[in-house]
């Protein structure tokens, strides 16, 4: 067999290992799905009524920013794209924790002294995490459909939307792998990825930017999650996308590349933290 197919074989072995971990100890995975679903219930069923009416009011004043149409059609249709991005964001936590745990235990030292593809150790984590995250996304989509989410997207737009989410998952997973490698304890690893889960709160996920005070609006406008959420919203709900798509893809590619290079450098530096 060639070096490449050995690398693929080793990566598949590592992937099996990581998926087995996830299936055997599902609490992390469950919390990845659980958090966004709780957010969904909270924002739709608890805050939803107030949100819709105040957003509808705001939309009369600032129609350029807000599509009153889909806000009026139900707050759930506005919020789900943001919740899906949050699902991907929270998927970075188990990744960082798993990578950090792996590095603090002896098993990776063993892998490093074996004649295997070294990249397979990280590749296994990344592919495993992406599978978990995309399964979580699927579950959250299912729950939101049950709760009354009515996207207008045709199958092509769905596929593009899923691709955007997968690209985001790839970016955040590589970033989480790098963060897991540089943190010394699993607890620290779970803390350090928290911003990936919190940043969507200060974005267009829950309320349109126009409703925010100037400073916060500025931050929300230029942080990576807003264009990604706007792109998804455009794809799923038919809202105008504009430049958001290009900016969203650029952010994802940059984060993925930075995370990958960072992770690779730290991992190749050696076994000691």
């Amino acid at each position: 067999m060639s070096t490449l197919s050995y690398a693929a074989k080793d990566s598949a072995t590592m992937l099996r290992r990581n998926l087995r971990h996830a299936l055997r100890y599902p609490s992390m995975t469950v919390s990845v799905v659980g958090m966004p679903i709780i957010m969904l219930l909270l924002f739709v069923d608890v805050f939803g009524g107030a949100m819709s009416s105040s957003l509808a009011g705001a939309s009369n004043n600032a129609t350029t920013y807000i599509d009153a149409a889909y806000i009026n059609a139900g707050y759930i249709n506005y919020v789900v794209p943001g919740i899906l991005v949050m699902t991907v964001g929270s998927g970075s936590m188990p990744t960082a924790v798993a990578v950090c745990t792996d590095m603090t235990e002896g098993i990776v030292a063993r892998f490093r002294t074996m004649a295997i593809s070294r990249a397979s150790i990280l590749t296994g984590h990344v592919v495993g995490s992406m599978i978990q995250t995309m399964v979580s996304v699927g579950l959250v989509v299912g729950v939101s459909l049950l709760m009354g989410f009515r996207p207008t997207a045709d199958p092509v737009r769905w596929i593009v939307a899923i691709t955007v989410l997968a690209l985001l998952a790839l970016a955040l997973t590589w970033l989480a792998v790098a963060l897991g490698l540089v943190t010394k304890t699993p607890e620290a690893a779970s803390n350090v990825v928290l911003p990936l889960f919190l940043l969507p709160f200060i974005s267009s996920a829950f309320v349109p930017l126009a409703t925010m005070p100037r400073g916060v609006r500025w931050f929300a406008q230029y942080q990576p999650f807003t264009p990604i959420i706007d792109t998804l919203r455009g794809l799923l709900m038919g809202a105008p996308i504009g430049k958001s798509a290009v900016i969203a893809v650029a952010w994802c590619v940059c984060i993925a590349l930075a995370g990958y290079l960072w992770a690779r450098t730290v991992f190749n530096r050696g076994p000691a933290h």
């Binding site: 971990h21 055997r24 235990e105 002896g106 098993i107 063993r110 004649a115 050696g270």
Partner: protein, 318 residues
């Protein structure tokens, strides 16, 4: 001993520093194939660092190292294919079962699925882990984890095995079973590079021992050669009667004498030559010796002597 085969491992001028701290300072090692070589030293002597370098885990700052005939710098992957490492901290996957851990190793060695499963079953049997095969490793005792760890190392049939303090933290029974496993492996032709803090362990299993202290090799040789280094090696001569004791004491001069037991203690390194010299002197004066025993100090004495008193003075024998 396979004295004439090429060495399984050689290191010359091995150096490693972590920042300002010099951990290994010009270490030379040679391990003949099919033998047990023990690196003996206290905590912080540099044993684990040595194993980490020799097993390709971390790079050395300087030195020429060949493992299994391959240059450590140029061909680390060929070395990795020839070695197995069982580190001080167990390198097992706590979230998998014992059987899954072994099959993971088989997969990473690219063994055929059926072959891998059979190998895993054999090793579970050999290491007395059949009952625990389907339990996650997190539930294992220290001894079981260590056995699984070593079993995982053996999946790929390595020719050279590094064991970094394999019995640290084990109870006496598990320790003895580990020693037996090591002996069996060597009988099967494997070369073992073992680090230990326990002098008894090195004495029990090692063909050659090197004493490492503060990053320097302070002594090297067989257990017996090291023991003979210690002032205090002596021969006890037992006499049938007081007159024999008296005349022997006169002939031999400076000896310590225990009149009650009719025993003389004569300083002697216990080698054949010096024993013959001693016996010749007694025979020349026609002195009858009832019994003779050679007493060499154990490795604890060696260790204290070479690390405590003659620190930084290299003593090399054999």
């Amino acid at each position: 001993m396979t004295l004439f085969s090429s060495p399984a491992l050689t290191a010359a001028g091995l150096r490693k520093a972590f920042g300002p701290l010099v951990v290994l300072d010009d270490i030379d090692l040679e391990v003949p194939a099919g033998t047990v070589f023990s690196l003996l030293g206290p905590n912080g002597a540099g044993k684990t660092t040595t194993v980490q370098i020799l097993s390709t885990l971390i790079p050395a700052d300087a030195g020429q190292v060949y493992v299994a005939g391959h240059d450590l710098r140029r061909e680390p992957d060929l070395i990795r294919a020839a070695i197995g490492v069982t580190g001080q901290f167990s390198a097992v996957d706590n979230l998998l079962t014992g059987q899954e851990n072994l099959i993971l190793m088989a997969d990473l060695h690219h063994l055929d699925r059926r072959v891998g499963r059979r190998r895993a079953a054999e090793l579970l049997d050999q290491f007395d882990l059949v009952d625990a095969a389907k339990k996650t490793v997190a539930t294992y005792s220290g001894g079981m984890r260590r056995r699984l760890d070593l079993a995982m190392t053996l999946v790929g049939d390595p020719g050279i095995i590094f064991l970094d303090e394999p019995t640290t933290g084990l109870d006496p029974r598990s320790r003895r079973s580990m020693w037996q496993i090591i002996r069996d492996l060597v009988a099967g032709g494997v070369t073992i590079f073992l680090t230990t803090q326990h002098l008894e362990e090195a004495d029990k299993v090692a063909d050659r021992i090197a004493v490492l202290d503060q990053g320097k090799l302070v002594a090297e040789g067989t257990a017996d050669q090291l023991k003979a280094l210690i002032p205090g090696a002596h021969v006890r001569l037992q006499f049938a009667d007081a007159s024999g004791l008296e005349s022997a004491a006169r002939t031999l001069g400076a000896v310590s004498r225990h009149d009650d037991g009719l025993v003389l203690q004569v300083p002697n390194d216990g080698s054949v030559r010096s024993l013959k010299a001693l016996l010749d002197r007694l025979a020349d004066d026609s002195i009858e010796v009832d019994g003779l025993s050679v007493h060499t100090p154990d490795l604890d004495d060696v260790f204290l002597a070479v690390t405590g008193h003659s620190r930084n003075e290299e003593v090399r024998i054999g």
